[in-house]
C-alpha cells in the first residue's frame, strides 16, 4: 500500500537536498486537536470511531495542502508497512497499536501528516529538514485555521484546546528537533545538558527510543509543557535553548579536534573505510558510522552535496526499511547483510575523504 510513498523522489526527509544543516537534522511540530462533544478515541464506540475517521479524512482531503496526498486506514496496513511509516516519523507507535477506525493522511512531499484516532481525534504534524521552528509553525497555524473552518474543534477559554491527556492541554503543541550531538557525547557533557534543559521543561530522548545513550548520537529535544504560554512563546523558548545547545556542540567538536586531531581523523577515516568494505552490519553500528559521516560533511571532508545521502541513509538503514526493500520477511542476520550491501554500494560512489580543509568553520 505504501509503495508510492517510499518511491516518492520528493519526500522531505529522505530526498531534500537543499536545506541540510550541521547539528540539526530535522524539525517537527505537532498539534493535538479533538472534535467537540464526540468521545475521545479511547472512549468512542467502534461506530463512532469509523464516523470520526471518515468525517476527518474527508475534511482533511479537501484541504489544499492534502491535494494528491495519501490516506491509509491503519487496519489495512501490514506490520512492516507500519514500521516503515514509524521509521519515517510519519505515524506514532501508539497509532500502530490502535484498534479499528484509525488512519493517517500524508501530503505529497511528506512534510505534513495527520493521524486520526490516535490518543486524540487529530494529531497534526509538520516535519522539515533543518532548523525550521518558526516557518513550520506559521504554515501549521494556517493549516489548522483552515481545518477549523469546517470542523468543530473542542476548546475552552480556560484550558485551551481540549485533549484526552491533561499534559497536552492549552496549545496542544509539541515541537521536537532532531539533533546530532557527537561533540557533547564524546566530551561527556550530554548528561549535564539533559539535566539543565529538563529544568526548563524541555525533554531529551533518543532517535528511536534508545534513551539518553542514543544511537548515532541523535537526540530528539522537545517542549514538555503546552499550557500557560502562547505557541510563539513555546517555540521561542525552545528555539533559544536549542541555539545554546548548537553553540555548545560546535565548541565541543572544535575542542575535541584541537586536542585529539589524529584520533579524530582516524575515527572518521576508519568509519569511511568500513562503510566502503563492510559485509555485515547491525543497525546500531550503521547509525554510529553514519554519525561519523555526517561529521565528515560538517568538517568538509565530504562534499556538502552528500549530506542528504547520509541523512537519507539514517532512515533507510533502519530495520523496517531494510526488510521492506528486500520485499520479504528476512531474518535479522540477512538484514545485516542487506544493510552492509546497501551501504557498501552507496559509499563506493563517494569521493575520497579530504583531510586538508578541516578546521574551517562548519
Amino acid at each position: 500500500m505504501i509503495e508510492s510513498l517510499i518511491k516518492n523522489d520528493r519526500a522531505e526527509l529522505t530526498q531534500n537536498t537543499k536545506k541540510g544543516s550541521p547539528v540539526v537534522l530535522s524539525t517537527r511540530v505537532r498539534l493535538a486537536r479533538n472534535l467537540a462533544d464526540i468521545p475521545f478515541p479511547e472512549r468512542a464506540t467502534s461506530a463512532q470511531r469509523s464516523d470520526i475517521l471518515s468525517k476527518c479524512a474527508e475534511h482533511l482531503g479537501d484541504l489544499k495542502l492534502m491535494k494528491k496526498g495519501a490516506f491509509f486506514d491503519v487496519s489495512q496496513l501490514s506490520e512492516l508497512e507500519k514500521q516503515v511509516l514509524v521509521e519515517r516519523h510519519l505515524i506514532s507507535r501508539e497509532l500502530c497499536e490502535s484498534e479499528q477506525g484509525s488512519g493517517v493522511i500524508i501530503n505529497k512531499d511528506q512534510t505534513c501528516s495527520v493521524m486520526i484516532n490516535e490518543e486524540d481525534h487529530l494529531r497534526i504534524q509538520f516535519l522539515k529538514t533543518g532548523f525550521n521552528l518558526n516557518s513550520i509553525w506559521k504554515q501549521m497555524d494556517s493549516f489548522d485555521s483552515e481545518l477549523e473552518k469546517s470542523l468543530d474543534v473542542a476548546f475552552s477559554e480556560e484550558f485551551g484546546f481540549l485533549t484526552a491527556c491533561p499534559t497536552n492541554l492549552g496549545t496542544g503543541l509539541r515541537a521536537s528537533v532532531m539533533m546530532h550531538l557527537p561533540g557533547l557525547v564524546i566530551s561527556d557533557q550530554m548528561e549535564r545538558v539533559i539535566r539543565a534543559v529538563n529544568q526548563l521543561g524541555i525533554t531529551v530522548r533518543g532517535l528511536f527510543g534508545e534513551g539518553s545513550d542514543a544511537t548515532g548520537h541523535v537526540f530528539q529535544i522537545s517542549n514538555q509543557q503546552t499550557l500557560g504560554e502562547s505557541e510563539g512563546e513555546i517555540i521561542n523558548r525552545l528555539g533559544n535553548v536549542l541555539k545554546t545547545i548548537i553553540d555548545h556542540e560546535v565548541n565541543a567538536r572544535f575542542k575535541y579536534l584541537e586536542e585529539n586531531r589524529a584520533k579524530f581523523l582516524d575515527k572518521i577515516g576508519r568509519a569511511f573505510g568500513v562503510l566502503q568494505n563492510v559485509h555485515f552490519l547491525t543497525s546500531n553500528e550503521a547509525m554510529n558510522l553514519l554519525s561519523l559521516m555526517r561529521l565528515a560533511v560538517d568538517f568538509h571532508m565530504l562534499p556538502e552535496a552528500n549530506r542528504s545521502d547520509v541523512d537519507r541513509l539514517f532512515i533507510e538503514c533502519q530495520p523496517g526499511h531494510i526488510q521492506y526493500a528486500a520485499q520479504e520477511g528476512i531474518e535479522p542476520e540477512l538484514r545485516d547483510i542487506a544493510r552492509a550491501d546497501k551501504l557498501r554500494e552507496e559509499f563506493s560512489h563517494l569521493p575520497p575523504l579530504i583531510f586538508d580543509k578541516i578546521g574551517e568553520s562548519s
Binding site: 479533538n34 472512549r43 499534559t167 499550557l227 500557560g228
Partner: protein, 170 residues
C-alpha cells in the same frame, strides 16, 4: 539492600528508578519491571514522566465525590486511574479535579495561545439558533403568536446572516 523500594504502581519490588526535574521540583518514581514495561518507560519515545507524575498526583487525592460526565459516562474513578478525560464535556464536569494537577505539569494554568475563531463563532451561532427555535416552539405552544412572530423573524435574520458569512468565507 535491606530497604528495597516498592513499585509506586503495584507494590512489587521496584527495579526502575526515574528522576526528573520539572519546574525546579524533583520528582521521583519507582517502578517494577513489568509496570515499567507497561508504561513504556523502556521506550523513551512513547514515555513521558510528566504523564506518570500527573497520574500520581491524580491518584493520591482522595475523598472527593464521584462525578459522572453525562456526555460520555466517564467517572471520577476512571479519570484517576487512567489520567485521561473522555470527551470535551468532561472538562466542565471534572474541572475541579483537573485544575490542581495542571500546576505541576505546565508553565501556567490558563490558556494563552491561539483561539479557534471560526469554530467558536459557528458553535455560538448554532447555540443561539437553537435557543431561538426552542423559544419559538414554546411561544406557539402557549399561543403567544406575537412573540412567535418575533422569534420567527429573528431566526430568519440569523439564517440570512450566517449564509452571508459563509458566502464571504468561501
Amino acid at each position: 539492600m535491606a530497604d528495597n523500594l516498592k513499585c509506586s504502581n503495584c507494590n512489587k519490588e521496584a527495579t526502575v528508578h526515574l528522576t526528573q526535574i520539572v519546574n525546579n521540583k524533583i520528582h521521583k518514581v519507582d517502578l517494577c519491571e513489568s509496570c515499567a514495561q507497561k508504561k513504556g518507560v523502556t521506550d523513551p519515545q512513547g514515555f513521558s514522566l510528566a504523564d506518570l507524575l500527573s497520574k500520581a498526583t491524580l491518584t493520591h487525592e482522595t475523598g472527593d465525590s464521584q462525578l459522572v460526565c453525562s456526555n460520555c459516562g466517564l467517572e471520577t474513578a476512571d479519570f484517576r486511574s487512567t489520567g485521561r478525560l473522555g470527551c470535551s464535556a468532561c472538562f466542565e464536569v471534572f474541572a475541579d479535579v483537573v485544575r490542581p494537577a495542571l500546576e505541576d505539569m505546565h508553565v501556567g494554568s490558563e490558556h494563552k495561545g491561539k483561539v479557534p475563531e471560526f469554530a467558536l463563532t459557528r458553535q455560538n451561532s448554532q447555540a443561539h439558533l437553537h435557543a431561538l427555535k426552542v423559544s419559538l416552539a414554546r411561544a406557539i405552544a402557549e399561543e403567544a403568536y406575537e412573540d412567535a412572530a418575533t422569534f420567527r423573524d429573528q431566526i430568519k435574520a440569523h439564517e440570512v446572516a450566517v449564509a452571508e458569512l459563509e458566502a464571504t468565507e468561501a
